[in-house]
C-alpha cells in the first residue's frame, strides 16, 4: 500500500530535473571536499568538518525536497501570502536581532543553525508574484499592475539592501523575466540593459566623449521620428534622461555605494588593480581557474586549491576549485548542466495549465540563472565581487535548502500540472 501511495505521490514527477539536481549537489560535495582537503591531515572522513556537514545538508535537502512532493499542490498557492508575510517579518527581524557576519546583518541564529531570511524571501516573493499573476492575470500594460508587482518585489529588495546585502538584493531583479514573460514590455528589459551599459560606459569613457555620442544617437532617432510628434518627444525625453542618468550615476556612486563596493566595481572594470587587497580574491580565483587549463589538474591535485590560495573557496568561490581541478572541460560540464536545468524548467513551466505554476517556474529559473551568472562571472572576473552562492554547489545549508525548496515546490506543481490550483 505504502509503495502505491508513494508512487501516487511521485507520479508525474520530472525525474530528469531531480537527476540534474542530484548531479549538481554531488559536484558540489566533491569540490567542497577538495577545497577543504588538507594534504597533511586528510584521510579519515569527518562529519564534523565542513564537507561532512555538506553531506548532511544534501541528505536533509533531499528529505525536505521529497517531503515537499508529499504536500498538496494547492498548499503553495493558498499559503503564498502567508509565506511571503512570514519571510518579510523575518527580513525585518534580522535587522533587529540579526548577527553581523562580514559587515552584513543577514543571519538569525537558531540554535546550531543560522537562518538567512533573504534566502527564504526569494521563494516567498516568487510564490506571491505567481499568486498575483495567477489570480488577477495582469498584462503589465497599465501602471497599476506594474506598481503592484514592483511593490511585491521591491519591499524585500529594500529590506535586504538595508542589511546591507547588495548581492542578494540584486537577485530580485531576476523577477523581471517572469513579468516579461507575462506581458511586461520588452522596453523595460532594454532600458535596464541600457542602464547597465551606460553605467559601465560612464566609468570607462570620459564624459566629453560619452555625452556627444549619446546626443548623436538620440539626435538620429529624433530625426527618424520627426513626423511622429509623440515619438519624437519621447525620444528627446529619453536622450535627456540618459544624459541626466550619467550624472546621477556618478553622484550615486560616490554617495550611496560603500567604499568596498566601489573598489570591487573599479577592479572589475580594470580601473584599479589591487593584487594584495580587494582584488586578491578575484586574481587568485582566476589564477586557480586558469591553472586548470583544458583538462584540469585532477581531483585533489589543484595546488592553488590544496594550499589555500583562494579565500572563501568552499562557498562563494567554489567554482575556482572546479576550474582548477577539472579544467575547461569540467567547467563546461557544470555550465552545461545549469543551462540544461534552466531550459528544462522553462519548458516545464510552459506546459503548466495554471498561470500560477508557470509564473512560479519562470521565477525559479530566473533566480537560479541570476545566481549562476553572477557567481561564475565573479570568479572569472567579468562581474564585480558580489557574495552570492552558486546554486546547489556552494557550501552552506541555508542556500542549499532554499534552492532545494525553490526547485522542489516547482516540481510538485509540475507533477500536479493536470490538476487545477
Amino acid at each position: 500500500m505504502t509503495t502505491q501511495q508513494g508512487s501516487r505521490f511521485f507520479f508525474n514527477v520530472d525525474w530528469i530535473t531531480i537527476l540534474i539536481y542530484t548531479a549538481l549537489c554531488t559536484i558540489g560535495f566533491v569540490n567542497i571536499y577538495a577545497s577543504l582537503y588538507n594534504p597533511e591531515t586528510s584521510a579519515v572522513f569527518n562529519f564534523a568538518s565542513n564537507y561532512g556537514k555538506q553531506l548532511i545538508y544534501i541528505i536533509t535537502g533531499l528529505i525536505i525536497g521529497f517531503s515537499i512532493l508529499l504536500l498538496d499542490a494547492k498548499f503553495f498557492s493558498v499559503f503564498s501570502p502567508i509565506v511571503y508575510g512570514i519571510t518579510m517579518l523575518l527580513l525585518m527581524a534580522v535587522l533587529v536581532v540579526g548577527r553581523k557576519v562580514a559587515g552584513n546583518q543577514a543571519w538569525i541564529p537558531l540554535g546550531a543553525f543560522r537562518l538567512q531570511p533573504s534566502e527564504l524571501a526569494k521563494f516567498g516573493t516568487a510564490l506571491l508574484i505567481a499568486r498575483y499573476v495567477g489570480n488577477f492575470n495582469p498584462k503589465f500594460t497599465d501602471i497599476k499592475s506594474i506598481f503592484f508587482a514592483g511593490l511585491i518585489i521591491g519591499f524585500p529588495l529594500l529590506l535586504i539592501m538595508l542589511q546591507p546585502d547588495t548581492g542578494s538584493a540584486l537577485v530580485f531583479l531576476a523577477f523581471m523575466f517572469p513579468l516579461y514573460r507575462e506581458g511586461l514590455s520588452g522596453y523595460f528589459l532594454l532600458i535596464f540593459l541600457g542602464m547597465i551599459v551606460l553605467f559601465i560606459a560612464d566609468f570607462l569613457v570620459p564624459a566629453y566623449i560619452l555625452i556627444p555620442i549619446i546626443a548623436a544617437i538620440g539626435g538620429f532617432f529624433i530625426y527618424q521620428n520627426r513626423r511622429k510628434q509623440k515619438m519624437m518627444f519621447s525620444m528627446i525625453f529619453a536622450t535627456i534622461i540618459a544624459i541626466g542618468y550619467l550624472f546621477l550615476v556618478k553622484v550615486a556612486y560616490e554617495k550611496v555605494l560603500e567604499p568596498h563596493q566601489r573598489t570591487r566595481i573599479e577592479i572589475m572594470l580594470g580601473l584599479k588593480t589591487d593584487p594584495k587587497g580587494a582584488g586578491y580574491n578575484v586574481i587568485q580565483s582566476k589564477i586557480a581557474i586558469g591553472a586548470g587549463q583544458l583538462t584540469g589538474r585532477g581531483f585533489l591535485e589543484g595546488t592553488q586549491t590544496k594550499y589555500g590560495y583562494v579565500p572563501e573557496q568552499s562557498t562563494d568561490f567554489i567554482f575556482s576549485t572546479i576550474g582548477e581541478e577539472w579544467g575547461f572541460m569540467g567547467c563546461s560540464v557544470v555550465i552545461g548542466l545549469y543551462v540544461f536545468l534552466l531550459l528544462r524548467v522553462i519548458n516545464l513551466a510552459e506546459r503548466q495549465r495554471s498561470t500560477f505554476s508557470r509564473v512560479y517556474g519562470y521565477c525559479v529559473a530566473s533566480i537560479i540563472f541570476f545566481h549562476v551568472f553572477i557567481n561564475i562571472g565573479m570568479t572569472i572576473g567579468i562581474i564585480p565581487v558580489i557574495g552570492i552562492p552558486l546554486p546547489f554547489i556552494s557550501y552552506g545549508g541555508s542556500s542549499l535548502w532554499s534552492f532545494t525548496v525553490l526547485l522542489f515546490i516547482f516540481l510538485k506543481l509540475d507533477s500536479n500540472r493536470m490538476g487545477f490550483i
Binding site: C331, I346, A365, I382
Partner: protein, 647 residues
C-alpha cells in the same frame, strides 16, 4: 497569447548567450592564455638555489693555485621576522642600527615573502658567532657560498677576478644568471668562466598561501644538486712565477716564459701586480678602486696588452729571413766603421769592429750589420719596387706572429703593430725607401710587439721554425683535456738549417766574452739570447732580453722587459737568466743567488707624472734609481741626424 509564448525563446536564448559568454571567458583564461597557469606556479613554487663551488686551478705540477673558502650570506625573509634583539645581531655582523634598517627595508621592498640577502659574505668566524644565536633571530638564516682564495698571492693578472653578476650580465645570459651569482670578470676566471662556474643546484618547494612550506614539488623530480666547476690545470710553474714577480718587484715590466715544444706559458708576470686575494670578499669594491688608482696601472696585463718595440731583440728574426732569402750566408761580412749611413740618417754602433759576420754581429748587437741585412732584403732584384719588397718582408715578419693576435686563452689580448706599405705611403708620400724605414732593421720605428709575441719568437727559434699557440690552460677537467688547436705546429717557413748560424750568434751574446749579455751566462747551460735597449717616447730606454735554453732540445723560451731601466744587459738579461736557471735546475747557483736577491731589491720605477700643482718643486727623476749591480755590456746606438737617440 501566442505572442507572449514566443518570449520563452527570448528568455531561453538569453540563458544560452550568457552561458556562452561565461564559457568564452573561461576558454580565454584556461586554454588560450597560459598567463594564469604560470602565475599559479609562481604562487606555489619557491626555488631555493645552492651555489656550486667554482673550479679549482692548479699549476703545471698540480699545485693548487686557487681554491674555495666558505663564506656565509645572511638571508632574511621579512614577513617571518619577529621582534628580536636587533642590537645583538648588529654587533655580531658588525653594522650599526642605521645599517640594519637600511638592509631590512631593502629586503622588505624586494619581497616580504621571499628570502633575500641581508648581509653578504660573512667570514667563518662571524658565522660561528652568529650560528650560536641564530635561533633567536627568527626569519633569518644563513646560506653557504664559497669565494676564491689564492694561497700564493701571486699572478693576479693571470687569474683575473670574480664578481657578482651585474644586471647586464643577467640580461645577456638569457636566463642563466640570477642576481647573486658570480661571474669571472677578467683573466682566466673570465676566459674559462663557463668551465669554472659549475651548475647551480635547485630545490623546488611548495608553499601554501600562508607561506608555510608544504614539501618538495613532485617528489623532487625537478630538483638538482649543485655541480662544482671543472678543475683547470694551468701551464704556469708557480715557482718561477713567484720568482719572476719578486724579481720585477718595484719595477715596471713583464716576463713571459714559454715551453717551446708545447706552447705552454710557464711564467706570466706583469709588474706592478697585486694580490688577487684583494679582489675577493666584502672589500672587493674598495680594493678595486685603490688598485685602479695606484701608479703604473696594475690592472694592465702587460704580457698581452703592453706594447713595446722589440729593439735589437728583433735582429735574429731579420737575419733568419735574410738567410732564407739567400741575401746573406753565415759567412757574409759587412764593414762596420762604427755606424751606418742611410741616406741622411746615421745609425751608430758603440763599437768599431771592421769586417763583422753574422755570428759576431748578433753577439755584439751590431747595428751596422743589421742595417746592411735590411738593405739587402729590401733591394733584392726580384722586386719591382720598394712597396713589393716591403710587403714581402713584412709578410715574412708577420709569419712569426707579429702584428696579429696569438690567440692566447686570455681576454683583452692586443695584436701589436707592423705597418703596411700603404700606411707608409700615407705617412711619407710616394717617396720613401728602405732608408726611410731603416729603424725597422733594429726593431724600432713603426713596430710594436707584446711581450708574449717576443717570447713566442724565441719559442720559434728554439723549435727551429715553428710554434704552437701559446696557452695558459693545458688541461680541462678530470681528463685534463687538451684543446686540439694546441697540438698544431705553425711553421714560419724558414728552413731548419738557417737557425743554427743565428743561434750561434745568440749563444755568443750570452756566452762569449764580447757578448752583450755575457754577465748573464748560466753555468753549465747554453743559454742563447739577445739583448735589446729600446728607445721609447716615455722616458728612459726599456731594458729587453729574449732568449731560450738549453741550446739543444730547449725547455724554456723567455722574454723580459723592464720599462725605463736602460741597457738590455743590465736588467732584463740577468732576470731572464735567473728564471731560466731556476726553471731548468730548480735553483740559482753560487754567487748568482746573491745577485738575484740583490735584483729583487732594486727599485726602477719610471718617472711618476708630475702632479699638476704649480708650487710643486721640480723633481729630477728621484723615483728612478737604477742600481747597476751588474756591468752593462757595450750596447749599440743609432744616432740619427735628428736629436733622438735610438738604442
Amino acid at each position: 497569447m501566442e505572442n507572449l509564448f514566443n518570449r520563452k525563446y527570448i528568455i531561453q536564448g538569453l540563458f544560452i548567450v550568457i552561458a556562452l559568454i561565461l564559457m568564452g571567458q573561461l576558454f580565454y583564461i584556461q586554454v588560450a592564455s597560459d598567463r594564469y597557469f604560470l602565475s599559479a606556479n609562481s604562487n606555489v613554487l619557491r626555488k631555493k638555489y645552492t651555489f656550486p663551488a667554482r673550479g679549482v686551478i692548479t699549476d703545471r705540477n698540480s699545485k693548487v693555485l686557487v681554491q674555495n673558502e666558505p663564506v656565509y650570506d645572511l638571508m632574511v625573509t621579512p614577513n617571518l621576522v619577529k621582534p628580536f634583539d636587533t642590537l645583538a645581531l648588529c654587533r655580531i655582523i658588525g653594522i650599526d642600527m642605521d645599517g640594519f634598517h637600511k638592509r631590512f627595508n631593502k629586503a622588505r621592498n624586494q619581497s616580504r615573502y621571499q628570502r633575500s640577502v641581508f648581509e653578504k659574505q660573512l667570514s667563518v668566524q662571524t658565522y660561528a658567532a652568529l650560528q650560536e644565536r641564530l635561533s633567536r633571530f627568527i626569519g633569518f638564516e644563513t646560506q653557504n657560498r664559497t669565494v676564491r682564495h689564492y694561497p700564493d698571492s701571486v699572478a693576479g693578472q693571470f687569474f683575473g677576478y670574480v664578481k657578482e653578476v651585474s644586471d647586464k650580465d643577467i640580461e645577456e645570459s638569457e636566463g642563466y644568471y640570477r642576481p647573486g651569482d658570480y661571474i669571472g670578470k677578467s683573466g682566466v676566471e673570465r676566459q674559462y668562466n663557463d668551465v669554472l662556474r659549475g651548475e647551480r643546484g635547485v630545490e623546488n618547494t611548495i608553499y601554501n598561501a600562508r607561506n608555510v612550506p608544504q614539501g618538495s614539488y613532485l617528489n623532487g623530480k625537478f630538483d638538482t644538486l649543485a655541480i662544482s666547476g671543472e678543475t683547470l690545470v694551468s701551464s704556469l710553474d708557480i715557482d718561477i712565477q713567484k720568482l719572476g714577480e719578486q724579481l720585477l718587484k718595484n719595477k715596471v715590466g713583464s716576463i713571459v716564459a714559454i715551453e717551446p715544444s708545447t706552447g705552454e706559458v710557464l711564467a706570466f708576470v706583469s709588474s706592478p701586480t697585486y694580490d688577487p686575494n684583494l679582489m675577493v670578499g666584502r672589500q672587493q669594491g674598495n680594493n678595486y678602486m685603490d688598485i685602479f688608482r695606484s701608479a703604473n696601472r696594475p690592472f694592465l696585463v702587460r704580457p698581452l696588452s703592453g706594447y713595446y718595440s722589440p729593439g735589437s731583440s728583433f735582429k735574429p728574426l731579420d737575419d733568419l729571413i735574410a738567410l732564407q732569402e739567400g741575401v746573406i750566408d753565415p759567412n757574409t761580412t759587412f764593414n762596420c766603421p762604427g755606424g751606418y749611413w742611410a741616406g741622411n740618417h746615421f745609425v751608430s754602433c758603440e763599437h768599431v769592429d771592421g769586417n763583422i759576420s753574422l755570428r759576431k754581429g748578433l753577439a755584439r748587437s751590431c747595428n751596422t750589420y743589421a742595417c746592411y741585412v735590411f738593405q739587402k732584403l729590401m733591394t733584392q732584384k726580384k722586386f719591382k719596387n720598394k712597396t713589393e719588397a716591403y710587403d714581402s718582408w713584412s709578410a715574412k715578419v708577420r709569419k712569426f706572429g707579429l702584428g696579429s693576435k696569438l690567440d692566447l686563452d686570455m681576454p683583452f689580448e692586443r695584436k701589436g703593430r707592423i705597418f703596411t706599405s700603404e700606411e707608409y705611403t700615407k705617412r711619407f708620400g710616394k717617396h720613401w725607401g728602405y732608408t726611410t724605414v731603416i729603424s725597422l732593421a733594429i726593431g724600432q720605428g713603426e713596430m710594436s710587439a707584446t711581450p708574449l709575441q717576443m717570447a713566442n719568437i724565441m719559442a720559434i727559434i728554439a723549435n727551429r721554425g715553428y710554434y704552437i699557440k701559446p696557452h695558459l690552460i693545458k688541461g680541462i677537467g678530470e681528463k685534463k683535456e687538451v684543446k686540439k688547436e694546441y697540438l698544431i705546429k705553425n711553421s714560419v717557413d724558414i728552413d731548419a738549417s738557417h737557425f743554427e748560424p743565428v743561434i750561434d750568434g745568440m749563444q755568443d751574446a750570452v756566452n762569449a766574452p764580447y757578448g752583450t749579455a755575457r754577465a748573464s751566462a748560466i753555468p753549465n747551460i747554453l743559454f742563447c739570447g739577445k739583448t735589446g735597449t729600446v728607445q721609447n717616447p716615455h722616458g728612459k730606454n726599456h731594458s729587453v732580453f729574449v732568449g731560450f735554453a738549453p741550446r739543444d732540445n730547449p725547455k724554456i723560451a723567455i722574454a723580459v722587459i723592464v720599462e725605463n731601466a736602460g741597457f738590455g744587459g743590465a736588467y732584463a738579461a740577468p732576470i731572464a737568466s735567473f728564471i731560466t736557471e731556476k726553471y731548468l735546475t730548480g735553483k740559482i747557483s753560487g754567487s748568482r743567488l746573491a745577485q738575484s736577491e740583490a735584483m729583487k731589491k732594486v727599485v726602477v720605477l719610471p718617472d711618476v707624472p708630475k702632479p699638476k700643482i704649480k708650487w710643486a718643486p721640480k723633481s729630477a727623476d728621484s723615483a728612478a734609481k737604477p742600481v747597476a749591480t751588474l756591468p752593462a755590456s757595450s750596447e749599440n746606438k743609432i744616432v740619427p741626424t735628428k736629436t733622438t737617440t735610438i738604442n
